[in-house]
């Protein structure tokens, strides 16, 4: 095809943006797959080792139990946030949808933490959860619950919960407003017809609102899934790169970063094992997200 004036013009428009996406998104992701099959000496690529890196992270100790430990925490985080973030978000959206007095204010308030940097949120909650000076324990002591006050981030039994709650506070506004937008698109004649039929709020929610916001639910669930399995910033700041205490907050994001780039205590870095972890995470996320999207899309109702 000869490059006419028009062809040149279109090429000039398309080529630069395409180059950015190809070089900084597509190439790195393809390369990540290739890197996982090599042995790495620091920044130097060594021999082609087939599936050895995958075998190591999945079946060779101590990697295998670390992988499993981090993975199980991601699963816990996903389900906990499904309730605390998406479940609460749906409830809040339903409350906002009624347009009670002050709804506008509440809508702005619930979204405010979403615009903050995760780093700010993480430090803020780390300070609040400080065993001695933190407002959480101080409040508990103030209302006579001194026995309940404890080092939330310092003990294995509560640390991951503390991170999940901080994350839910940070992000609950997002599903809230996505659900709210979904509810506002339900035609008013449907809502009115339901009001005539039933007094029960429960029936209204389960039979009408929930099925009709299915497209919002699909998006919110998939984004939470991808987010929960990529979780990094908040645990990095609040619990540290090792997922302290004793790995009780270790998640795949931290583990992957630690394996690839090393940490303060052990400067050892291994790009081969890191890439293998990245590829496994990538395939897992893509497979589940794809499957869930297809399943959820099928139950969506076209209005």
């Amino acid at each position: 095809m000869a490059l006419t004036g028009r062809g040149l013009w279109i090429t000039a428009l398309i080529a630069p943006p395409l180059a950015f996406v190809a070089l900084f998104i597509v190439y790195p992701i393809v390369a990540a797959f290739a890197y996982a099959f090599y042995d790495w000496q620091g920044l130097l690529r060594g021999e082609f080792v087939w599936f050895e890196n995958f075998h190591t992270v999945l079946f060779v100790e101590p990697y295998a139990s670390r992988t499993l430990n981090a993975f199980s925490h991601n699963i816990f985080v996903f389900f906990a946030l499904m309730v605390l973030q998406n479940g609460l978000g749906f409830l809040l959206a339903y409350a906002l949808w009624r347009e009670l007095p002050g709804a506008r204010f509440h809508r702005v308030a619930v979204f405010l933490p979403v615009v903050l940097s995760t780093i700010i949120v993480a430090y803020l909650w780390k300070l609040f959860l400080h065993p001695l000076f933190g407002v959480i324990n101080q409040s508990l002591r103030g209302v006579g619950l001194a026995d309940v006050a404890q080092p939330w981030l310092g003990q294995e039994s509560t640390a991951l919960w503390a991170l999940v709650i901080a994350q839910a506070w940070h992000m609950v506004g997002f599903p809230t407003l996505v659900f709210l937008a979904g509810m506002q698109r339900i035609p008013t004649d449907i809502v009115d017809a339901v009001r005539m039929e039933t007094q029960s709020e429960w029936v209204k929610i389960t039979k009408i609102v929930w099925p009709l916001v299915a497209p919002s639910a699909t998006v919110v669930f998939v984004l939470l899934f991808v987010g929960a399995f990529n979780w990094f910033e908040l645990p990095y700041i609040m619990a540290g790169l090792d997922g302290s205490p004793y790995g009780s907050t270790d998640v795949l994001g931290l583990y992957f970063y630690r394996t690839a780039f090393g940490n303060v205590s052990a400067a050892h870095q291994d790009f081969g094992l890191g890439s293998a972890l990245a590829v496994l995470m990538f395939l897992f996320i893509a497979a589940i997200a794809g499957f869930v999207t297809a399943k959820l899309r099928a139950r969506e109702i076209q209005l």
Binding site: M1, R6, G7, W9, L13, I14, P16, P17, F20, V21, L23, F24, I25, Y27, P28, A31, A32, L43, A95, R98, L100, P101, G102, H106, R107, V108, V110, F111, L112, V114, V115, L116, S117, T118, I119, I120, Y123, L124, L127, F133, V135, S139, W169, F174, A181, Q199, P215, S216, V219, V226, N230, F232, E233, F256, A260, F261, S275, A278, V279, M281
Partner: protein, 288 residues
């Protein structure tokens, strides 16, 4: 007062009976807004307090003239540097994203050519891929390009990650624009470049605002890429710089809270001014 207000609502809608239920929903909303705002208010209050005051009366109103903590952050740390870096990196990325995104979207939306659909798919593929997982090849790529420890590495990655959403939003919008203006201009002998610049671009501003907001917040807040690419303290952006001075003032709680307050201030103020645009912009990808 709230009882009277809810009653009016029911009179207006002609609905009765569920006053109790709406009352409960209202209680949930008020409680939730309290939980959302209280930590931010305590953060701002604590920024004006000394360690002793924070420990003894964490919830009391501070003496707002006591700005010692802010002076400390302002003068003893690299805060201003980090802030300027954040503005530079975010600003440059946004200019590139909007320029390149509009170019691609315009070509894809207004011209029919071979490979059109495929190229659009190529851009959209970038929408869902978690780029964090490709950080090792990106790190090596930046080293090979010689821009590790250089803000160009951040600007390039942010530009690439911003393009898919921008192309997605803008292509959809540009397709809805009518052909008549364009055809008339073409008949008058205007060049393609002139048609784009003088006729179409002024019309796509609303979509540009949505695309800009959707990208500006994650870029301004990003921590992961600077963590990997930038070592030099003078080049750090605000979220990354925050980790530096949070470490330096480890037990000076007033200074820590004022550091957080100063870092959060720009985005909170802009959000309060433009909350409607922020909400619609940031949920744009998720709301069809």
């Amino acid at each position: 007062m709230s009882l009277a207000a809810t009653t009016t609502y029911y009179d207006r809608k002609g609905l009765m009976a569920t006053l109790g239920r709406d009352g409960m929903l209202q209680v949930i909303l008020v409680a939730n807004s309290f939980i959302m705002l209280a930590p931010i208010i305590i953060m701002v209050f604590s920024a004006f307090k000394t360690n002793m005051e924070i420990f003894q009366s964490p919830f009391s109103l501070p003496d707002f003239s006591n700005v010692g903590n802010f002076v400390k952050i302002w003068t003893e740390t690299n805060f201003l540097r980090y802030l300027a870096n954040s503005f530079f990196v975010t600003g440059s990325s946004m200019v590139l994203i909007l320029t390149l995104g509009t170019m691609a979207a315009y070509a894809l939306a207004r011209y029919q050519f071979r490979g059109n659909g495929f190229i659009l798919m190529f851009f959209l593929a970038g929408l869902t891929l978690p780029l964090k997982l490709a950080i090792i090849p990106l790190f090596i790529l930046m080293r090979d390009l010689g821009i590790l420890n250089n803000q160009l590495s951040l600007i390039f990655v942010y530009t690439a990650t911003g393009l898919p959403t921008t192309v997605f939003i803008m292509t959809g919008f540009i397709r809805t624009l009518p052909n008549e203006l364009e055809d008339a201009a073409r008949m008058d002998g205007a060049s393609e470049a002139r048609i784009m610049w003088s006729i179409m671009l002024p019309l796509v501003r609303p979509a540009m605002v949505i695309a800009a907001i959707q990208n500006v917040v994650p870029i301004w807040n990003d921590f992961f890429f600077p963590l990997v690419f930038i070592q030099n303290d003078n080049l750090k952006t605000l979220p990354q710089g925050l980790t530096t001075f949070m470490g330096e003032y480890a037990t000076d709680y007033g200074a820590l809270f004022s550091g957080l307050t100063l870092s959060a201030a720009p985005i909170i103020l802009i959000y309060i001014l433009l909350s409607r645009q922020f909400i619609s912009g940031m949920t744009a990808g998720a709301v069809k």
